[in-house]
Point group: C2
Chain length 336, copies 2
């Protein structure tokens, strides 16, 4: 039976692993430094569909099908799907996954959705009621721009703190027994609000949430950053990563030697003009489900923390003068 | 340990109960037949806030605080909150619950959110990683109208199949041990799509999802409708309820003698001019967390099924010509 520690970290008792994972991305991501690790790169960001939203749905369909194929599984083998995305009413997930006929639990964690999906999957498996689960999420630059900001045709200037929404989807199959990385524990995030109101500086809004969850995890487990070979946040980008490191340093915890961020990894900052890095549910999902999986396989990382962060705002809440509350869910993964 | 049956029903092994629940609603709901059962009725649908969205958030805050108070608990006693709503990016939940400081898992199940939240809560408790959870959701007539349809000031005509979004929130505290209704099993819904495209006829879109989940439950458990003293759907309203009964009858299952629907219960059809009944996350949430809780307490119902249905569309998906996929999650509750 799982065990809940004082600050909320939940230690899993069963051997629950990431069985396999896959990532399907757009052309810009395919021109970045992680290109070789993605399962599929689409040159056409519309994926042959008639709208950006339908294209994003299709990314989820593709990522899920590839994950199933890689695992040698069919939809019959998956007891439940946990999925969500950034679009209003999470339509990428609904329309991307409706044809699978698998029991479905819609998640809303904004860009933290991949970690949330994996964390809840692990707990459902720990309960005994689910044998195998799939966590899926996506984002698309064009669907996000027109929903959260402006139509891309408008050609609005982006500020230097702005992040670039990744066009991509990730799917991870989680089950009992051996796999590529054991999920040892999960720490569910709390809604954290440092009263940041700049919707073009999500990194700053989300860094405090990552700091809070990490502190709770270190307190609970009595471990320190140097016990891990990677502390991977997603998607704080350059601005948020620097803030996270400073926030933790001010409390005596230094993660700088082992920290990296999916929003920094996915694009080449010099060549790809993405300002503060990548973002979107599909950012950490596609990085975690491709490059990180391969690094775990190769043994480059053996003991890591994956902390996906999400900004829980909407254009309406911003227009009504609200700040940007954020959240960060953590998963402790060990190669064993 | 929980046990998963063939069609997906999950039998809980631990004694997990609804500890307490509360409902806070608007003025129209307070003029309906269930008025006396709600914990709080607001005469001012703005709840003193400056926007409908903030008012809806406030409903979640109020419902949660009342539930904690009734349970004699503080936020310290709740290990995790599962919440979601209909607004873009689920902002009612984020802003309504951010001050609580409780680990948070955002859910998106549209109007099925209350059943989804309770079902996942029960499974998290079954895992041992969570002792006590709270499931919260809301909807607001005015925030829903302007987001999904037209601003209310426009005074658009509603069709006779349209349902009236409930202004209300419900909060249920779920934990191990005794309570007001034991959660015996849960059945997670599949995305079901009968290709209905009329966004003013959600009942018809959602009825097939309820039928699918109910059939899977009956198949799994070998039980029949007459084994239960209530099969409560939410929120099919009048049109969807009739369709559900017919759909199941065509396959040899007759639920008509024990069926009722939250969308039918909450308003007086003759006096309140709501056309096809109530709807919205807050409809079945406020009915389940007030009237149904009281009927369980009084022993009117002792063995019931609660199947909350959700329409997983958005204005964007409808504008792009998509149909309305739906979902229904089931909880089997026994008074014991």
């Amino acid at each position: 039976m799982a065990q809940r520690l004082k600050m909320g970290t939940i230690l899993l008792s069963r051997r629950i692993s990431i069985k396999t994972a896959s990532a399907a991305v757009g052309h810009k991501e395919g021109e970045g430094p992680l290109a070789e690790y993605f399962d599929r790169v689409y040159k056409d960001d519309l994926l042959g569909q008639s709208s950006w939203e339908k294209a994003e749905s299709r990314l989820q369909t593709e990522a899920s099908n590839i994950a199933l194929e890689k695992a040698g599984m069919t939809t019959e083998n998956i007891d439940v799907i946990l999925a969500g995305d950034l679009l209003n009413q999470c339509i990428s997930s609904t329309f991307g996954l409706r044809s699978l006929g698998i029991p479905y639990l819609g998640q809303y964690g904004a860009c933290s959705t991949m970690a949330q999906g994996i964390a809840v999957s692990a707990l459902l498996i720990e309960s005994g009621g689910v044998n195998t689960a799939m966590a899926v999420t996506s984002s698309h630059f064009c669907s996000a721009e027109r929903q959260f900001r402006l139509p891309i045709e408008y050609g609005g200037q982006r500020t230097l703190t702005a992040q670039w929404t990744v066009t991509g989807a990730g799917a991870a199959i989680i089950g009992e027994g051996e796999g590529n990385g054991r999920i040892c524990s999960v720490t569910i995030g709390k809604i954290t609000d440092y009263k940041i109101k700049d919707a073009n500086n999500m990194g700053a809004a989300m860094a405090p949430a990552a700091a809070d969850t990490l502190k709770r995890f270190f307190d609970d487990t009595g471990t320190k950053p140097s016990d891990y070979d990677l502390i991977l946040t997603g998607d704080l980008g350059y601005v948020g990563s620097e803030l996270l490191i400073k926030l933790l340093q001010s409390e005596g915890t230094d993660i700088s030697a082992v920290h990296n961020d999916c929003g920094k990894l996915i694009f080449d900052r010099e060549k790809q003009d993405v300002h503060a890095g990548g973002s979107g549910c599909g950012c950490c999902a596609s990085v975690f489900c491709s490059y990180i999986q391969e690094m775990l396989r190769q043994g480059k990382y053996n003991n890591m923390l994956f902390i996906a962060t999400g900004a829980l705002m909407s254009p309406t809440s911003s227009q009504q003068g609200e700040s940007i509350p954020s959240i960060a869910h953590l998963i402790h993964i060990k190669k064993e």
